[in-house]
């Protein structure tokens, strides 16, 4: 049963529609991430859940109760913000204690809880320091402790790592996930960073222009995108238009080349579809460029990008299009710039999307 539910949420700011009917269910203890580009509505959705914005339409349900009109201070939701939000006039300890003091918890309980949280975030020596005496990463850890201190019903995180450098970001996101798993707290996380979303979430919600494009596990979102937007936004993708040749065998025609694609099975011959292939599933071979290959796409290597373990090759194919293929960096030398190559993929490695309307 859903613990937190967003039902038909709509919100506009002037002429801009930020949310166009968002429906979402979050299970108790789940870590769910709203992922999307700037302006997709993910932060607006989070702020509506927090109570900082009122929806124009729709409801927010928490544990079966409608909390749409409940003020933020009465929702019992801990929030970590993108900007550093610690109270500058208070020590780290006082910041963490703030919510407990408001709830008039006894001092012994406050002291115990604060001690636990400082141990949990790994900053036991920072209790007497002021926010300006802490690094960005420490400040966000502290903000997390402060949000957790009140034992919130839902933990909300609004791009909490975006102001940090790459190394701290990776370290801290792992800590956030560890703490969330230990506490089993229902968490709604907002980010525009797909790697971040994929690495820490139970489920990811990809949003675009105020709508949900796809909801699924990180593996589903990456491996089986259901819309062109998701396919393009999450990871690097090759996608090309093709025509179904044989819906029984699973074959398409792409610029006169017959390609095996299991995902078109059951589709009517002649139907136009978008075939989606990840760069890492493409297998490259050198060719002499004279013969048209069977079941593969031919092209010429036009650039190399070294990414560490893999090298990303850009391959110019027919009709001015290009393919991206990842090959192990130790093998990249076999495909120098200018080399003629053929690219193949396993029939079950490609996904198929319907052509977007228009």
């Amino acid at each position: 049963m859903a613990y937190l539910e967003l039902q038909g949420l709509q919100k506009s700011f002037g002429d801009v529609m930020a949310l166009r009917g968002v429906d979402l269910s979050v299970a108790r203890g789940e870590f769910l991430t709203l992922l999307g580009p700037s302006g997709c509505g993910k932060t607006t959705a989070l702020r509506i859940v927090a109570g900082f914005e009122s929806p124009d339409g729709g409801r927010v349900m928490l544990d079966g109760h409608d909390i749409t009109t409940v003020t933020p201070s009465r929702r019992d939701m801990g929030m970590v913000f993108q900007a550093y939000s610690l109270f500058p006039n208070m020590t780290a300890e006082q910041n963490v204690e703030f919510g407990l003091r408001i709830r008039r918890r006894p001092s012994a309980e406050r002291a115990r809880r604060v001690g636990e949280l400082f141990d949990l975030i790994g900053l036991p020596d920072a209790r007497k320091r002021y926010p300006h005496q802490l690094s960005g990463g420490q400040q966000q850890r502290l903000a997390l402790a402060r949000a957790l201190a009140i034992e919130p019903r839902v933990l909300l995180l609004d791009e909490p790592l975006s102001a940090l450098d790459a190394r701290v970001r990776v370290q801290l996101r792992e800590e956030i996930r560890r703490i969330q798993t230990n506490l089993g707290i229902t968490t709604l996380y907002v980010t525009h960073d797909q790697e971040e979303a994929m690495s820490i979430s139970d489920r990811v919600v990809v949003m675009s222009r105020g709508r949900i494009e796809q909801i699924g596990s990180p593996a589903d979102i990456y491996g089986s995108p259901t819309t062109p937007f998701v396919a393009e936004f999450v990871g690097t993708i090759n996608w090309f238009e093709a025509q179904v040749l044989d819906g029984g065998e699973g074959a398409v025609d792409y610029s006169g080349t017959r390609l095996r694609v299991d995902a078109v099975r059951g589709r009517a011959p002649g139907q136009r579809v978008v075939v989606v292939v990840r760069p890492e599933v493409l297998e490259l071979e050198r060719s002499n460029g004279e013969q048209r290959p069977t079941g593969a796409i031919s092209g010429r290597v036009i650039s190399h990008s070294f990414l560490g373990a893999v090298t990303r090759l850009k391959i110019s194919v027919e009709e001015g299009a290009a393919l991206i293929a990842d090959v192990g960096s130790v093998r990249a030398g076999a495909f120098p710039i200018g080399a003629q190559v053929v690219a193949r993929f396993a029939p079950d490695a490609a996904r198929v999307l319907n052509l977007p309307p228009g």
Partner: protein, 266 residues
């Protein structure tokens, strides 16, 4: 090195000229205040001024009124400036214009307006008794100090992330009074103190309103002594400066070494 020294010379000259502009009249006044006894320097003028019971009474009266003005100003300005920043940013130019009005409308016009509206035959006869007249004078001083207090507080609010701090406090269960008193006010304390001491300086020396409302403030006392005595006004001027500088010194003591506003914001 020499080039650097030569490059700084104009700046030093300007500083020197500015210092002379301020200190020569002050030194002249101080020197004059010491000439009460013919043929030798003495502190006689200061002794006479300090011995005058009206001095203590008027300074005390004005100081109490200044404190009341500061309290009223803070109560009025901090929530207003905070709310304008948080929820009504479009109204900011309007409020700024209103707060600037006391600079362009002379105090005498304001006080005559008060006398017409709040005289003893009006619906709200604030000039009907001494205490209510004191209240009216305090409100008048709040108006006079508004440009300084509002600007100081607004500048302080600009230096902190009002929206995020407010939302953080709200998500932790804080109501509006908690947010204002425990989160916003402590983080604009420096700015509030600046406005408070400017207010103090204004109220201590104010003459027009206190005189026309016939209240025993320090400003009218200064004027009275200035019109009737030779050396005591100079001594009083120096004492006034000392009071103002003491206020500035207090500001430095309060602000120094305290965590908060600037240091804690990013």
């Amino acid at each position: 090195m020499g080039a650097v020294t030569r490059g700084r010379a104009p700046a030093w000259l300007v500083l020197l000229a500015g210092s002379l502009y301020f200190f020569i009249p002050l030194l002249g006044t101080f020197e004059f205040s010491l000439r009460y006894l013919r043929g030798k320097y003495s502190l006689e003028a200061y002794r006479i001024v300090l011995a005058d019971p009206r001095f203590g009474a008027t300074v005390t009266y004005s100081a109490i009124l200044a404190v009341a003005t500061i309290v009223m100003g803070v109560v009025l300005v901090v929530p207003t400036a905070y709310w304008i920043r948080l929820r009504l940013p479009r109204l900011r130019p309007v409020v700024e214009f209103i707060t600037l009005l006391p600079l362009v409308i002379p105090a005498i016009v304001i006080v005559f307006g008060y006398l017409r509206i709040y005289n003893s035959t009006s619906v709200l006869p604030l000039t009907g008794s001494e205490h209510t007249t004191d209240l009216l004078l305090m409100f008048g001083y709040v108006t006079l100090a508004l440009p300084y207090m509002y600007r100081a507080v607004d500048t302080g609010l600009r230096a902190i992330n009002v929206h995020t701090l407010t939302e953080a406090a709200q998500s932790l269960g804080g109501g509006w009074s908690t947010i204002l008193l425990r989160v916003i006010l402590p983080n604009v304390r420096t700015a509030v103190l600046s406005g408070a001491f400017l207010t103090f300086a204004i109220v201590i020396g104010e003459f027009t309103m206190a005189s026309l409302l016939d209240r025993p403030a320090f400003g009218p006392y200064l004027q009275l002594i200035g019109a009737n005595r030779a050396y005591e006004p100079a001594a009083l001027a120096i004492i006034s400066f000392a009071i103002t500088w003491a206020c500035m010194g207090l500001l430095q003591i309060f602000v120094r070494g305290t965590p908060g506003q600037m240091a804690g914001t990013h």
